[in-house]
């Protein structure tokens, strides 16, 4: 009953948005809700914190990572869980590292094997192709994303395939594969739980290994209730995962074709290797008769003995687990099946020619650099507005588009933790710094930074002017009102206090105290 003095629209509530239609847990007696003791008189629900969305991507304009990260930080439940969860992965990785005496030797071997293979890439790709063909695998080559998508579409068309199940692949993200397939009327189903969540939410993966790590269970419950018909009020993780399994299984059984990526390729045997924890790549590859694997050309290794080094490092670095639950080696089609491999360049051969950056091709996509990065952990992977986020993204993304990703190399404190945890010893933080220089040289750096740097350049080339300016700035900082120091043009004043300016510059102190002495 609503009494006359309570406005009907709010139900007498201070925060009408908290009103729930009904509460299945309430105790009812004679058709009325009991509200004795601490019981509320009306059903209430605490609204889950809405998920902050990623960077606003506007065509070719530079992505504002800082703006999107700011929104993620402003959602404290999301930010805390994300930070904690990824730091836990980092700590599990350390535990594994300490359990293996030869860890550092494995990292050095992995780096050396990759550098050798990349400097002989043409030879090993040729060897892989020959051996894979001999095993009955169809090998295709794609210069770029568009050609990759067309080749896969062509294979599907030849088989009359209309539905495709696939496992997670960063390469297919890079190629905008799902969007392309939707445009040609092929139904794609992602089979990795995290990637399926992201597909259903029409959102990119935020992490190379755990694609939905930025979401809370409440976000998933809301999403699944809209898309696969789960109970919107049930946020139990076991329930949500089981509902997804049950919803996806029929799609797996009925699919016309399956697709996987590959973590590694072995030239000597013509094998490609896929690592998952869910077994979803093995379902995608082994249930339909047609299996297509999309593989970046940098994934290649010479021989099986080299693969051992990488398998030992991959999951330990990624998740702090000794091995992925499933590590599957595909050397040829199964009886009655057909197997295709699409080798994709999409900028990789060109990257090989970048003297300072070619070693980024050593990356095995473990995500360790993301898990350890304070900027990534606090800001979320979608803040980068690019296929690859975190430290590795900062050095790969600009090779795809220098203007669009010109801000990204600044999303780093250059603390070097990424370099320290990288299982293939990529000097990530040094490359981040080098990209800043390259982007300035190529005039891709934003105006505010450019103006500041130009002014700094003029000052730094004139010692007298520099000293006068520093003294004036110190005096000014001590007396300027806050709104002049903390404004949009001064990034140093965002989210932190500018340090107190010294009363005296070093130069004037030296002049006063040591000036007379030699």
């Amino acid at each position: 009953m609503i009494s006359v003095h309570e406005p009907i629209d709010s139900g007498g509530m201070l925060h009408p948005e908290l009103r729930a239609e009904h509460d299945p847990n309430s105790i009812m007696r004679d058709g009325r809700r009991l509200d004795h003791a601490e019981g509320t008189s009306k059903p209430l629900r605490v609204l889950p914190e809405p998920q902050p969305r990623g960077a606003k991507v506007r065509g070719n304009r530079p992505v504002d990572q800082q703006e999107a990260a700011g929104r993620f930080i402003a959602a404290p439940e999301h930010e805390k869980m994300h930070d904690e969860r990824l730091w836990d992965l980092r700590q599990k990785r350390d535990r594994e590292m300490h359990g293996i005496a030869e860890w550092e030797e494995l990292r050095s071997l992995a780096s050396a094997i990759k550098e050798h293979t990349l400097t002989h890439l043409d030879k090993y790709l040729d060897q892989f192709e020959t051996n894979a063909r001999a095993n009955g695998i169809h090998v295709h080559w794609a210069r770029d994303a568009a050609e990759h998508n067309q080749i896969v579409h062509g294979i599907l068309r030849d088989h009359g395939a209309k539905s495709l199940i696939k496992s997670k692949s960063m390469l297919t993200e890079e190629c905008g594969f799902r969007a392309y397939m939707a445009s040609v009327g092929i139904e794609v189903t992602e089979t990795d739980l995290g990637e399926r969540i992201q597909q259903l939410d029409n959102e990119d993966p935020s992490h190379v290994v755990v694609p939905a790590v930025h979401k809370l269970r409440t976000d998933v419950a809301e999403l699944f209730s809209r898309t696969i018909g789960t109970d919107p009020d049930n946020t139990d993780v076991h329930y949500l995962a089981e509902a997804q399994r049950e919803a996806t299984r029929p799609l797996i059984l009925d699919a016309d074709a399956g697709m996987t990526g590959a973590n590694f390729v072995v030239a000597e045997t013509g094998t490609f290797v896929v690592c998952t924890n869910e077994g979803n790549a093995d379902l995608s590859a082994n249930v339909p008769k047609l299996h297509i694997a999309s593989i970046g050309i940098e994934k290649i290794l010479p021989r099986m003995e080299h693969l051992a080094v990488f398998i030992r490092l991959l999951s330990r670095s990624a998740l702090g687990s000794p091995m992925t639950q499933y590590t599957s080696h595909f050397r040829g089609p199964r009886d009655g099946g057909e197997m295709h491999v699409v080798l994709v360049d999409n900028g990789r051969s060109e990257r090989l020619g970048l003297e300072e950056f070619w070693t980024s091709l050593k990356c095995i996509r473990c995500g360790a650099c993301m898990n350890t990065c304070p900027v990534y952990r606090r800001g979320g992977g979608l803040s980068y507005g690019a296929t690859y986020s975190g430290p590795i993204g900062l050095i790969i993304d600009p090779t795809f588009n220098k203007r669009k990703y010109s801000n990204l190399p600044y999303a780093s404190s250059l603390n070097g933790s990424c370099t320290n945890v990288c299982p293939v010893k990529i000097n990530i933080h040094e490359q981040i710094y080098a990209w800043r220089r390259v982007l300035v040289e190529e005039h891709e750096v934003p105006l505010a930074k450019k103006v500041a740097m130009k002014a700094a350049g003029v000052l730094l080339s004139r010692p007298m002017a520099y000293r006068a300016a520093i003294a004036a700035a110190d005096t000014a900082l001590a007396h300027l009102p806050r709104f002049i120091i903390y404004n949009g043009l001064n990034a140093w004043g965002k989210h932190r206090e500018v340090p107190h300016a010294p009363k005296q510059t070093f130069h004037s102190w030296y002049h006063a105290n040591r000036g007379g002495k030699p």
Binding site: T119, M304, Q325
Partner: protein
């Protein structure tokens, strides 16, 4: 020019002009565990798998018989124990969708990671190891290698078209890091140590 030739030409034009030799990979086996079986068992447990202790006497398959007692569909590819779904009669993978338990034999196991290698020869139909709700694996205790360096020297990786390391059951923690078994593949993985029968047709 074909895409293949284009890509290879672009690679050759961009190859870094540095000399990087291919290192030899040691076997890292100087300090092996006292018992490979114990190490395997411990690591299998860490990965969420279950090790079935064989009875000290009598029918060695009793632990499996207990597990599958209530199951409707059991598909076995091993001669030691019979199921009620004949893998030889399976035309398409999807015919295995209703299997409760699959029973297979591992080619070998890895102590370091608690992994079992299942090949297309072990599985007959690869999908059986993923579509079944639960997977039971027989392992000959003499088929355990110390680590992955030894594992990758095995002939299976050169002979078989499909070979997969299983280290525990299907798992995910994609929602808030909560570990779930049976994400998409099998909900459980159990391993029973059983020596190979000398006339085991699979190994011939």
């Amino acid at each position: 020019m074909s895409s293949r030739d284009d890509i290879l030409a672009s690679i050759r034009a961009n190859l870094p002009r540095v000399d990087r030799s291919l290192p030899d990979v040691p076997l890292f086996d100087a300090d092996p565990p006292v018992s490979l079986l114990s190490a395997f068992k411990e690591n299998l447990h860490r990965m969420g798998g279950m090790f079935l202790d064989p009875p000290s006497s009598g029918d060695i398959l009793v632990p499996i018989r207990i597990i599958i007692a209530g199951a409707k569909i059991v598909c076995s590819t091993v001669p030691e124990i019979a199921g009620n779904r004949d893998i030889a009669g399976v035309d398409a993978s999807r015919d295995l969708a209703d299997v409760d338990f699959a029973i297979v034999r591992a080619s070998f196991a890895v102590a370091e990671t608690g992994s079992l290698l299942l090949t297309d020869a072990d599985l007959h139909v690869n999908a059986v190891a993923y579509l079944a709700q639960h997977l039971i694996v027989l392992l000959d205790p003499t088929d355990i290698v110390v680590n992955l360096h030894h594992a990758y020297r095995r002939p299976d990786f050169r002979d078989r078209h499909y070979a997969s390391f299983h280290s525990g059951p299907s798992a995910t923690a994609d929602i808030e890091g909560v570990l779930i078994h049976g994400a998409q593949g099998v909900r459980s993985l159990s391993v029973l140590p059983v020596a190979r029968a000398t006339d085991d047709p699979i190994t011939q």
